[in-house]
Amino acid sequence: MRINKSLNLQIENMKLTLKIWRQENAKAKGKMVDYIIDGIDGDMSFLEMLDVLNEDLVNKGEQPVEFDHDCREGICGACSLQINGEPHGPDKLITTCQLHMRTFKDGDTIVIEPFRATAFPVIKDLIVDRTSFDRIQQAYGYVSVNTSGNTIDANSIPIKKENADDSFNAATCIGCGACVAACKNASAMLFTSAKVSQFALLPQGEVEADRRVLAMVEQMDKEGFGNCTNTGACEIECPKGISLENIARMNREYLKASVK
């Protein structure tokens, strides 16, 4: 039997109780359903554990649990899940697909819900509709440059390494929505500010910075996301460690653009 050394707990052949949100479609009423699952290994990822459950349900002729997932390496941003009340579960700086069962122990009960927010309506079971994020980016999440390739040489504008790095750090946002799910107001400020910051920090994006921040914030409000009250929960739960500094930057950018 293998043991989690730091916790001295059994992590092989675990038996778990899962409490999972089941909801037939957007209009149906959902409810929590209990499942008992056996033989779970600590090296399995959380989603592989759900695969085992689903294989079991299919074999029994029941409906498998629907959940979003794709790359299973923490970069596509498809997977979500509120696990024991936390977006992407108890570990920090990872997505649900990178969460491993060694984080849990034999006999645990795990509560699995979809990300909750007015702007993220449930589609089915654990799948939510996050197209509100797409619409924020469609509003002005770009630089207005044609894709013809007839532009200046990539090295003709030197960019300070610090700015390039900060821009990159903001740009690593995977658009998963954990920030919204973590926030008691369901605010999308961290997400929107990451996009605003990425461009505002680069000379290429700075040209349209004013118009961009106004348009993106307007769309964010239209989608029904809540206000930011600076609790910082978003930063703590963000799997990519997007910093609150981006929100401060966006507020500055917004103020600057508004008074012009």
Binding site: D43, E48, R72, C76
Partner: protein, 667 residues
């Protein structure tokens, strides 16, 4: 007689693309407004093509199975993108990038396409920087570069280990700009189920809304397939869970020939399989081979002790380690191309020197890089005599800045700290060089049906070099397809809107619903994954890193049997009128079960070893691949006739006018 006409323009290599562009037919801006184009897939190729076509004025509809175009699997590409910028002044040029790519592909790619790729590569970097893609920079403000396998220059641009993410978000932002202008309509959570031909031309698709289950008809004057590769035929691969061959295979069944299906890239540096529950494999970027050194124990007793947990890798001294790539390939060392590195790992593990519980892993060690960088950093910051601890601390910081996210990813999966103990890696299926046959215009053998990015076969021959997939995807989408498709569409300016209430659309829709009903009403014995895993085992064991005639024949037989059983006994629960992940998987696995057989048939017919295709019967005395240019210097393009076993082979002879064919050597 072959039906394949590659339509390579006349003239010297360097002038082909320029001459071509000067002489093609154009569509005037007013007419572009009356022309519709469908793009399947929104990764680097599809996203960039959709944005550019919309910007030119065409009406574009995009389709992707993900909930947002931004999640296409290009997002997971880690290491970088090649471009012949020669910013490092190390002698790079378009010709050298072209040459490296053709050689890296083991002389099985088309010269004219590859040269064009090299020619536009620099433009890609300019374009992405203009879009606000935050590439890595040096303190002087200039773009940084690193090296990848199979080349002797530093031409790879990168954004930490998230280059694909940043490039895709760039293409997605360009799409967003066009969505905002109303020029792109994005259909997300939609799967293309079939392509519709009218009068022999691709004129639309049948799609399934994956949320409501509704079957939809969409018409267009041309259809672009940028739906990625088919690595998931192996069940376990580094592809996303949803990556599939459906769009390409549906087109194949309607007349698009499928080229070189057996050319698969098994990537050397992936996290080893840990157990039967494994759902996918995770790549550790090739860029790690810039700094990591690959080794196994020199003595078999040490390997055994490590497997049994009695010894740790750090217990072994330098003399007790076999840095087998540096030993076998001194010129390229740890940076040999992927196919070479993968086979070498398999060779050591098969001989009993593998580590990990399973014996199927080798070490990728950063200790010497940490020491080297640590010393350098201590020195430049004034510590001329640093302690060992200081060196390790500073060196670790440098490695973290370069590969931090990869190391974190590794630690989360394996539960070991790769800064302190070497990583364990093993080859895994990663990329498919084969794909839909296309001519120089990227048009398939169905008029009006184009294929771009990994979905086509065109540029990488039998083995793709690292950091070239991103380059090809964006080259096809931003700079090639938007020109070539115009030439075709110039004949369509008077066609008018394509109606969808026609017999052709009726018939295609009926095929799709019949197929769905058949899947929903099959015998209900086994889950879709049951079949997919079985298929994956056959593929990995008999069509994997090394292949032989006997096993390939067995694979053909076994896959055909498995397919028959699948259609009789698969179990798809629930209904087709709602979100149904099992039904989605079933449709995809059904196509993999056909493709897999053609794959094995192609591998069996190619009686030579080249690139990622290694036939045990054809190797040199020291175990290197043995090509047969006299008999196999061609593209094998397969025509569908109803059954994979009866597919008809067409050959496109490859002509090498600018490169002398040689035995690939990285020694």
């Amino acid at each position: 007689m072959s039906v394949l006409d590659s339509k390579i323009p006349e003239g010297p290599l360097e002038e082909k693309w320029i001459n071509y562009k000067n002489n093609i037919n154009l569509v005037n801006p007013a007419n572009k407004r009356n022309i519709d184009i469908i793009v399947i897939g929104t990764g680097l190729a599809g996203g960039s093509a959709a944005a550019t076509l919309a910007e030119l004025g065409y009406n574009v509809k995009t389709f992707c199975y993900q909930d947002s175009p931004r999640r296409a699997h290009s997002i997971a590409a880690q290491g970088g993108i090649n471009a012949a910028k020669n910013y490092q002044g190390d002698g790079d040029s378009n010709y050298r990038l072209f040459y490296d790519t053709v050689k890296g592909g083991d002389y099985r790619s088309r010269e004219a396409n590859v040269y064009r790729l090299a020619e536009v590569s620099g433009n890609i970097i300019d374009q992405c920087v203009a879009q606000g893609v935050p590439f890595a920079r040096e303190y002087g403000g200039m773009l940084d570069n690193r090296s990848f396998g199979g080349v002797l220059v530093s031409r790879t641009f990168y954004a930490k280990g998230q280059t694909g993410q940043q490039l895709l978000l760039g293409a997605y932002s360009a799409m967003n700009r066009q969505i905002n202008r109303g020029k792109i309509q994005a259909f997300n959570r939609h799967e293309m189920m079939d392509v519709v031909l009218v009068g022999g031309k691709a004129r639309g698709i049948i799609a399934r809304d994956m949320v409501t289950g509704a079957i939809e008809r969409h018409s267009a004057h041309a259809v672009v397939l940028a739906s990625g590769g088919y690595g998931n035929v192996f069940f376990l691969s580094t592809n996303a869970m949803g990556s599939n061959v459906m769009a390409a295979w549906r087109a194949h069944r309607r007349g698009a020939q499928f080229a070189n299906p057996c050319y698969t890239q098994i990537h050397p540096t992936c996290i080893p399989v840990s157990g039967d529950h494994q759902s996918k494999l995770t790549l550790m970027s090739e860029s790690l081979r810039n700094d990591g050194r690959i080794w196994v124990p020199k003595k078999i007793e040490d390997a055994e002790a490590i497997r049994a947990g009695k010894k740790k890798p750090t217990d072994l001294s330098e003399e007790e380690r076999d840095y087998y790539l540096e030993r076998r390939y001194p010129a390229f060392g740890n940076l040999v191309p992927r196919d070479v590195a993968s086979r070498a790992a398999k060779e050591r593990c098969d001989a009993g020197y593998g580590v990990n519980k399973t014996g199927e892993a080798v070490y990728l060690d950063f200790a010497s890089a940490i020491e080297r960088y640590g010393k350098e950093k201590a020195f430049t910051s004034g510590h001329k005599n640093p302690s060992k601890e200081e060196v390790v601390k500073l060196g670790t910081e440098v490695i973290e800045a370069k590969y931090g996210n990869l190391f974190q990813m590794y630690e989360k999966i394996v539960d070991q700290n790769p800064y302190k103990t070497p990583m364990m890696i093993y080859p895994a299926v990663h990329y498919t060089m084969g794909g839909l046959w296309v001519d120089y215009n990227l048009q398939t053998t169905i008029p009006g049906c184009y294929a771009a990015g990994e979905a086509n076969f065109s540029d990488h021959g039998a083995n793709r070099l690292g950091a070239s997939a991103l380059m090809q995807g964006l080259a096809d989408g931003y700079f090639v397809l938007p020109y070539t498709i115009g030439d075709y569409l110039s004949k369509d300016i008077r066609t008018g809107k394509i109606p969808t209430d026609t017999a052709e659309f009726d018939a295609a829709e009926k095929d799709v619903t019949d197929r769905i009903n058949k899947l929903m009403n099959a015998g209900g014995q086994h889950s879709v994954d049951h079949y997919h895993k079985k298929l994956g085992k056959i593929m990995w064991n008999k069509c994997g890193m090394s292949r032989n005639a006997k096993e390939l024949q067995e694979a053909i037989h076994e896959i055909a049997e498995l397919r028959e059983d699948f259609w009789k006994n698969v179990k798809v629960p629930g209904s087709a009128d709602t979100k149904n992940a099992e039904l989605e998987k079933a449709g995809r696995v059904a196509d993999f079960l056909e493709l897999g057989e053609l794959f094995a048939k192609d591998a069996l017919h190619r009686e030579e070893s080249c690139g990622g295709h290694f036939r045990e019967e054809y190797q040199t005395e020291d175990g290197e691949a043995l090509r047969d240019d006299e008999n196999f210097k061609y593209v094998a393009s397969w025509e569908y006739t109803g059954k994979p076993s009866e597919a008809i082979l067409h050959k496109e002879e490859l002509v090498f006018e600018n490169i002398e064919l040689k035995t690939r050597s990285y020694k």
